[in-house]
């Protein structure tokens, strides 16, 4: 499956067929710091993402 990351925008390929929380763990992303977007909606950490899915991990932190 494809994961879109931001700031800067880039994409990585990881294994699908597992829960969002496992994908976040593999990428060392703290769940509290991102929205997980699939298509035009948000998904929760317990949802299973398929190999053919694309998800965006949109950071929520801003500084200054």
């Amino acid at each position: 499956m494809r994961v879109v990351l931001r700031n800067p925008r880039r994409e990585v390929e990881v294994a699908g067929g597992r829960r969002v929380r496992d994908v976040l763990k593999e990428l060392d992303v703290i769940p509290e710091t991102v929205l997980v977007i699939r298509g035009d909606t948000l998904i929760t950490a317990d949802q299973v993402v398929a190999d053919e899915d694309t998800i965006e991990l949109r950071p929520v932190m801003s500084g200054g």
């Binding site: 700031n7 929205l35 909606t41």
Partner: protein, 300 residues
């Protein structure tokens, strides 16, 4: 995961509330938290005109969206910081937001007021860019509000912003900063407008989710100067604590507000006067904004 209210599929989990919500119930939860903030701190009434400081980001545009939906009399204030493409894009987002909702937007250029945009201020002062930028924003928000007759300025500061600021102040024991940290700062001088933060009960992630679910077109890109900012470092530390112990950020901030802030307020009383140069409120003779402006003019 199911929505706590209606039992349909959830789109967001809020671990600190031990809850998950579907989109409509999350939006209502979000609005309720804003309503509670406004009510509890008597931030403003429906008879008052509210100046909403907007940056083009999720927090301030989300806040403006809630206040418009709730029927408040609002205008936006966009401060153009002159930070390359980031400012061009964020200004366009604010203008599009205001045009679509037919609400007024005031645009003020920092360069016109200080003498140079934020990137030049950074070079001249040799201080972190967020320092001169924050100073200019606070000053101009107040002055523009006074000039246009607004009794109150609302900013999009959220729970994470407030917890990170508190963390920074405590790490350095900046006791003079602690009394000023509040969801609502009353007007303590005729030339100081009230400053309020109606999102202080909501996390940064909740604000992002609100903006996304409301289809608000906000700037996702980070300010180029925010990279390496200490506020981001504090937020990351706090988010790790939150991940290990949901509610940690909330308890840190709300514990301070409920139990500790008043003690620092008593200890750190300051006397306010008017700057001999611009007439705005300061604790010294010449205000920090005029000093910054002098420094910029000498160097450019």
């Amino acid at each position: 995961m199911k929505c706590r209210k209606c039992g349909t599929g959830a789109v967001i989990e809020l671990r600190r509330h031990n809850a998950a919500f579907c989109a409509p119930d999350f939006l209502e939860f979000f609005r309720n938290q804003v309503r509670e903030a406004i009510r509890k701190h008597r931030m403003f009434t429906r008879d008052e005109r509210v100046l909403v400081a907007v940056s083009g980001g999720k927090d301030s545009l989300g806040l403006w969206d809630v206040l418009i939906e709730e029927g408040y009399q609002t205008s936006g204030l966009y401060l153009d910081l002159g930070i390359y493409d980031y400012s061009v894009e964020s200004k366009a987002k604010c203008e599009a937001f205001a045009a679509a909702r037919e609400v007024p937007l005031i645009v003020t250029g920092v360069a016109d007021e200080v003498g140079a945009p934020v990137p030049v201020i950074k070079e001249v002062t040799r201080r972190p860019p967020c320092s001169g930028c924050g100073l200019s924003k606070r000053y101009l928000m107040n002055r523009v509000a006074l000039e246009h007759g607004f009794p109150v300025v609302a900013t999009g500061h959220n729970l994470d912003d407030e917890a990170a600021t508190l963390f920074g102040s405590v790490m350095h024991w900046q006791t003079e900063a602690l009394p000023r940290q509040s969801p609502a700062l009353a007007s303590t001088h005729p030339k100081l407008v009230r400053r309020v933060k109606p999102l202080y009960r909501l996390s940064e992630r909740e604000a992002a989710a609100y903006a996304f679910l409301r289809r608000i077109d906000y700037i996702v890109e980070e300010c180029p100067f925010a990279k390496g900012a200490t506020s981001i470092m504090y937020k990351e530390i706090l988010s790790r604590m939150e991940d290990a112990s949901p509610g940690a950020k909330h308890n840190f901030l709300f514990g301070f507000l409920d139990k500790a802030r008043a003690a620092f307020e008593r200890a750190e009383a300051v006397s306010l006067q008017e700057c001999v140069r611009c007439g705005q409120v300061t604790t010294g003779t010449v205000c920090a904004f005029c000093k910054l402006s002098d420094q910029v003019k000498r160097a450019t």
